[in-house]
Point group: C2
DNA sequence: CTCTTTTTGCAAATGATTTGCAAGAAGAAT
DNA sequence: ATTCTTCTTGCAAATCATTTGCAAAAAGAG
């Protein structure tokens, strides 16, 4: 938990007029340090050991979700993944790529997702989400010389 | 369960050389009749009452999943939704639209999803999935005259 | 019809997420 | 700084979708 993350965390809570409590700051710092969406359990594990209860982690995530400070990333399994919302525009979140080989998920911040074409009339799209699946650069180059 | 669906269901099982059992045919017929992705529970409820156990429903869905007869639709909550795979190309499934108002999800079979631009080098994309969220035509026109 | 291999039903287990409740902080007011 | 009110937390127990173990039942080959 760096000083920089801590400040950013406090700022995020202030902006939403939320109390700055230990669990909230810990959780936000974990998310600020993460480079891909995390599950409730992963967040719990990365917090200074046993300083925060798991129920509090989930409750806090729900709170942050309601305040649009974090949001869900929809990955393959039924386990929820959370990430900070500050990389997302209101109408569309960055795509996520999940490797079928190593299972790792990466955020593709710089990718550009064109709007869906030929939508039937009358639908108002407020949010768009894209999920990619395939083989990551790491797994592609592996096992070249000896297969 | 129409005669037409039953035949299609049998055909799907044959193609994957799977035994034609009562639960499998029932489940496939439910999916053939559905116009949006269904949860395990929803499928269970739509089957001729109590003729199939819920555990069997889930086990069967897993089987059909392994044989690419059905696949997951990734919707908002942590509950899995299943639908027949026969509307999808291998590299990308049709988008789903979920209404924030009424909560209903529709399959957008005819929509065209352009490829993601500006992907970092080295990623091999095998599958793409798009989820839209917003207000459906029904909910948009409602509450016009009297609000 | 018989035999072998799958598949099923039922009950119990799992595992992620929620919830009730009393004790413990935060922050406003004094 | 102290008091007071309101919001949060920890802990334990509850939920709920999904899985799993196992013995009984069904499918399909011969
Ligand atoms: Mn992300
Ligand atoms: Mn669909
Ligand atoms: Zn990989
Ligand atoms: Zn609607």
């Amino acid at each position: 938990m760096t000083e920089e993350h801590l400040q950013k965390a406090e700022q995020l809570l202030e902006q939403s007029r939320l109390r700055k409590t230990r669990p909230r700051l810990e959780i936000l710092c974990v998310l600020l340090a993460a480079d891909s969406p995390l599950t409730g359990e992963q967040i719990f594990d990365r917090i200074t050991p046993a300083s925060v209860d798991k129920a509090t982690v989930y409750r806090t995530l729900l709170l942050l979700l309601r305040h649009d400070i974090v949001h869900h990333a929809y990955l393959r399994n039924r386990i929820r993944h959370f990430e900070l919302a500050h990389h997302c525009k209101p109408d569309h979140c960055h795509p996520h790529f999940t490797c079928r080989d190593c299972g790792r998920t990466v955020c593709l911040y710089q990718a550009v997702v064109p709007a869906v074409q030929n939508l039937p009339a009358g639908y108002l799209v407020l949010h768009r989400q894209t999920r990619l699946e395939g083989i990551c650069p790491n797994c592609r180059t592996e096992g070249f010389g000896d297969e």
